[in-house]
Point group: C2
Chain length 236, copies 2
């Protein structure tokens, strides 16, 4: 069953430019109809070979949210140690970076406070045997497997971006986090996820207490090249 078309549709570019990562939520539950609309947006994304080998777990049960929150808290110690060991990214001011760390740290402690935790998953696809690959590539089998893992996200993160934008369009807030991955097995155990399925993110969802965008970013000209690496965009 598809959700009915939304009545007041926010503009696409307005949504893209204001869909800030939001981690602070009101305790109010999210109406099932809105969750349905978010999911109905997620599944419109493309997936490799149009296989749609995705699944979404909508976690509203308080005990399960607490259990996931506890794993996330533990995993975040590792993330925190990584942040502490790295310098501030050059493109962020100290104030921006401090705010980022404060917001992330808030979520480490309060994942379970989100009324919904959405867990996007993909069924693992069988990878080719080394001998099934062209001979020229067999010597680089380990690299090739790493590349295949790397592109596996192309079948789920586009759906996840649709979730982020749909939340923005419906007055909800959310954020992608992947901190849990070090202890993914424990999250999977909480939710009964089978061995041949992998999680790709945790997405806390709720009505936000903070405001949407605008989003400050490194400008296009700093991250874009024309025709070859290093050639300026826009072209002179």
């Amino acid at each position: 069953m598809s959700a009915p078309p939304p009545t007041a549709d926010v503009g696409l570019f307005e949504a893209i430019h204001t869909a800030r990562s939001l981690r602070h939520f009101k305790p109010d539950p999210v109406p099932q109809e809105l969750i349905e609309r978010v999911l109905d947006a997620a599944i419109r994304a493309s997936s490799g070979g149009n296989t749609q080998h995705w699944s979404f777990i909508v976690v509203r049960d308080a005990a399960k949210r607490r259990a996931i929150g506890a794993v996330y808290r533990k995993a975040s110690d590792y993330t925190g140690a990584q942040y502490a060991a790295r310098p501030k990214p050059d493109h962020l001011s100290q104030a921006q970076y401090d705010q980022f760390l404060a917001n992330s740290g808030y979520l480490w402690d309060h994942m379970a406070a989100a009324p919904v935790i959405l867990v996007p998953c993909l069924k693992k696809r069988e990878l080719p045997e080394r001998t099934a690959l062209p001979e020229a590539v067999q010597a680089r089998y380990a690299d090739h497997l790493a590349n295949l893992h790397r592109i596996s996200g192309s079948s789920i993160y586009p759906a996840i971006q649709n979730i982020i934008l749909a939340c923005r369009g419906l007055g909800l807030g959310t954020v992608i986090t992947t901190n849990h991955i070090l202890y993914e097995d424990e999250v999977k155990a909480v939710l009964g996820v089978p061995d041949d399925v992998a999680t790709f993110a945790l997405m806390p969802i709720g009505f936000p207490t903070r405001k949407y965008g605008p989003l400050t970013r490194k400008p296009v000209a700093e991250v874009t090249y024309a025709d070859s690496w290093g050639r300026p965009w826009p072209p002179p």
Copy 2:
């Protein structure tokens, strides 16, 4: 320099529900202002730790497009062999699957015909040494590295979905393809991409000769669970 706000903004949900994968393009060049708007949408996505460690290469040069197209054609032989070895996905009718194969096959032969090939990249981040991980995890180091590769896409595929939606909003067509990954080194050589940067997709972009959506998908209820794997959504 940011692109000016678009004057006629398509609705968010309309864009999400109609942004079909489009692979057939008119030969007309894409105005630079539209490419700028697409990129300005891309960079509004989130990235892990807000590092924005992405780069985008806008390939319009005909010789470079032909060189990429030749690598893509070679790589697609492998993809084609995979498709041939796999059964039709259950959720697609034979007609839908035949159309998918025909459209994909068209792109294998005509990548260079797209007036723009956009190549989204990420700078590789240093991975932790085994001994830097919590002791409980060290025995699973190989799995952990695979998981890290798997979630690396969370910093680029959301931007890629913004590109797809922005193209839809601006009257352009595009598609994600990752077929090139087996011969990624050759694509990188064409574009001069350094060793510490990885490509995550090829995105042909142009004015489409075919129509936007609607998009047929497995319904939400078939791919969603409530609170635990296997429990039906929507809840009874």
